[in-house]
């Protein structure tokens, strides 16, 4: 039997705040096989980023976390901080959203890549620098031998994100988390960065979690997609199934909010009415029920469970849509 690379089991992460406990991630379970890509989609505040930090075990002191995160058979939640540090880089790494702030402004590019290599692979400084240049070249940064000695402010946003990717892949991790890697970038650069991530993933056989709020990013780049709402996965399926056979009204609403090329001009963009729920006092039933046009009394009183409807298509909904309803 082979265990999946990553198993997240009933992960809950809450933050103690002055107003009360914010349940940012509220019982999330999924698995990810080696070399596969999982897209995690949701609005701002749906818990995507907190989920990624929960997997990396990089939570602030006021966070309360429970559940299990197993990577390659080891339970990360039971590991010491020191053991975790040895995993971050060689086993699991992350690319953050904003490349303008995620690189240290006073350190050279080379130092920021090199320290990962010296720390985890025991390379000498000289070898680490040579390897840094190679890595920069492999992420498509022009003039890598010049850039390696420069500071972040001398690079554009897209180039900085390439540097961040070079840092993330430096130790050939088994799992790469990309947390909205293109949200802060120009549209023209977004596709390049996503293609770069896909290419690196294929070459190095990494598993990847691609976090985004953009359904368009997910399409065609992920094997599976999980849709998050109010700290929970509300629908998960293979990308093809999710787009063709959408069951959860929230997913459908997200898909409808993408403008399409074949739309007639001046068509009103679909928006999802209402606001994301309060995570301190979530609704009693389905968290999406206040904004859902199909919701009834059952939806408003009891939360639906995430159930498998076959072929790995999971959704949490009392009133799932059928093909006909979606059309």
């Amino acid at each position: 039997m082979s265990e999946p690379l990553l198993t997240v089991e009933n992960q809950r992460t809450a933050f103690a705040t002055g107003r009360g406990l914010v349940r940012a991630v509220d019982g999330v379970s999924f698995t990810l096989e080696r070399g596969r890509t999982l897209g995690v989609v949701g609005e701002s505040g749906s818990g995507k980023s907190v989920l990624s930090r929960s997997i990396m075990r990089l939570l602030p002191p006021n966070a309360r976390s429970s559940g299990e995160v197993r990577l390659g058979g080891r339970d990360l939640t039971a590991m010491s901080e020191k053991a975790l540090r040895a995993l971050r880089g060689p086993e699991i790494s992350i690319v953050f959203q904003d490349p303008m702030t995620s690189l240290n402004p006073v350190m050279t590019i080379g130092a920021q890549i090199g320290e990962v290599l010296t720390r985890h692979l025991g390379m000498s400084r000289k070898a680490a620098k040579a390897r840094s240049v190679e890595l920069l070249a492999s992420v498509g940064l022009p003039q890598p031998d010049v850039r390696v000695d420069q500071h972040p402010h001398q690079l554009s946003g897209g180039m900085r994100q390439r540097v961040a990717i070079a840092i993330a892949i430096a130790c050939e991790p088994a799992l790469l988390i990309a947390d909205e890697p293109t949200t802060a970038l120009d549209v023209t650069v977004q596709a390049e960065i996503l293609d770069l991530l896909a290419r690196q993933q294929a070459e190095r056989n990494m598993a990847m979690i691609l976090i985004t709020h953009d359904m368009g990013v997910v399409a065609g780049r992920c094997d599976d997609v999980a849709v998050m709402y109010a700290g929970r996965i509300v629908e998960q399926a293979s990308t093809e199934d999710l787009f063709r056979d959408t069951r959860m009204p929230y997913t459908s609403a997200l898909l409808a909010s993408i403008p399409r090329l074949d739309d007639p001009p001046h068509r009103k963009l679909e928006a999802i009415a209402g606001r994301p729920p309060d995570l301190i006092h979530p609704p009693a039933g389905c968290a999406f029920s206040p904004r859902c046009r199909y919701a009834d009394d059952l939806c408003r009183s009891q939360p639906p469970a995430l159930e498998d409807a076959g072929r790995g298509h999971r959704f949490a909904c009392w009133r799932p849509m059928t093909m006909e309803a979606a059309e």
């Binding site: 040895a86 006073v106 402010h153």
Partner: protein, 317 residues
């Protein structure tokens, strides 16, 4: 080049305003140098004769211009009291004061940086609270109080270090340092707290930055994150303060030099003020002004070293 020129402009403005204001101040003080020169039991006529000879009754602005002209031609004048060349007196005493101040800043920094790091690591934690209390106690105590406590404990009680005196460097490094330790401590123990609080505040902000989160995600140790990733971008305000503190330090050293009997500029200045020896006062004040502007110029250079973005702006002029 343009940058250096702007700096020089600032030096001139600071010098002129500081020296002129001092000149005015000495002028309005009761008594003048003529009394001192004439001696205790001289008549009013004798005093007036000296005044006429020195031109003390002339307009204060004219006298200032006289003096300033001398400075520009390299003539700092000589003391009225003991005829010592001002330039010579300063050259002899300045290294002593400089050593005292450098040692004091060194002590302040070597306390402030580790304490600031530890405090910022877990704000509100036990270590932070202990250090905060220590800092508060330390800053509440004026340097002359600290000095007296230090003398009482280390000189009188333990007998480890001398309470007064000065040895030149030619007597040996340790001989030179020994009598300097307590005075430098007395000064440094006041200054470190402000540096520490500033570093702590800025570092707490820096530790929230995304690049620190990324350093954690890269598997870096807490010590490396604090020292390599966070310290440099957190030290801008502290470095600024380091320059501004030179002013306070010079004021503090005047008192400390008195208490510990250190033959530095501070004691020279106090003596000159007591005897209304205005040429010597002007010399000391001019030197203080130069030292202050130079220290802050060094701070600017330190910025460029700390932050590569500043380097770029400067290159653009």
């Amino acid at each position: 080049m343009r940058y250096l020129f702007r700096r020089f402009q600032r030096l001139v403005v600071v010098m002129v305003s500081v020296t002129f204001l001092t000149f005015l101040l000495v002028n309005v003080l009761p008594g003048d140098v003529a009394y001192e020169m004439a001696g205790m039991d001289s008549s009013e006529e004798e005093v007036q004769a000296i005044r006429d000879e020195l031109g003390l009754d002339r307009n204060v602005v004219l006298r200032y211009l006289d003096w300033a002209g001398g400075i520009l031609t390299g003539d700092w004048g000589a003391s009225f009291i003991n005829k010592e060349e001002v330039w010579h007196a300063l050259a002899q005493r300045f290294p002593v004061s400089l050593e005292l101040m450098l040692l004091a800043q060194l002590i302040a920094l070597s306390l402030a940086v580790p304490m600031g790091l530890i405090s910022a690591y877990r704000p509100g934690g036990r270590a932070d609270r202990v250090i905060g209390t220590l800092a508060f106690a330390s800053v509440s105590m004026p340097s002359f109080m600290t000095a007296i406590l230090l003398i009482f404990f280390f000189s009188l009680h333990l007998g480890w270090l001398p309470a007064t005196g000065y040895e030149p460097l030619s007597a040996g490094l340790w001989e030179n340092l020994r009598p300097m330790i307590l005075p430098a401590l007395a000064l440094g123990l006041v200054e470190w707290t402000v540096l520490m609080r500033t570093l702590r505040a800025e570092m707490i902000g820096v530790l929230q930055e995304n690049y620190i989160a990324l350093a954690r995600a890269k598997g870096m140790s807490d010590a490396r994150i604090l020292l390599v990733h966070a310290l440099r971008p957190s030290s801008f305000s502290m470095i600024t303060l380091l320059g501004l503190q030179v002013g306070r330090l010079m004021g503090g050293s005047i008192i400390i030099e008195q208490i510990f009997g250190i033959p530095g500029i501070g004691r020279l200045l106090v003596h000159a003020v007591n005897t209304r020896d205005f040429i010597m006062i002007q010399g000391c004040v001019t030197l203080f002004a130069i030292a202050f502007v130079t220290a802050n110029f060094l701070v600017d250079i330190a910025y460029a070293w700390l932050d590569p973005r500043v380097r770029l702006e400067r290159a653009r002029g």
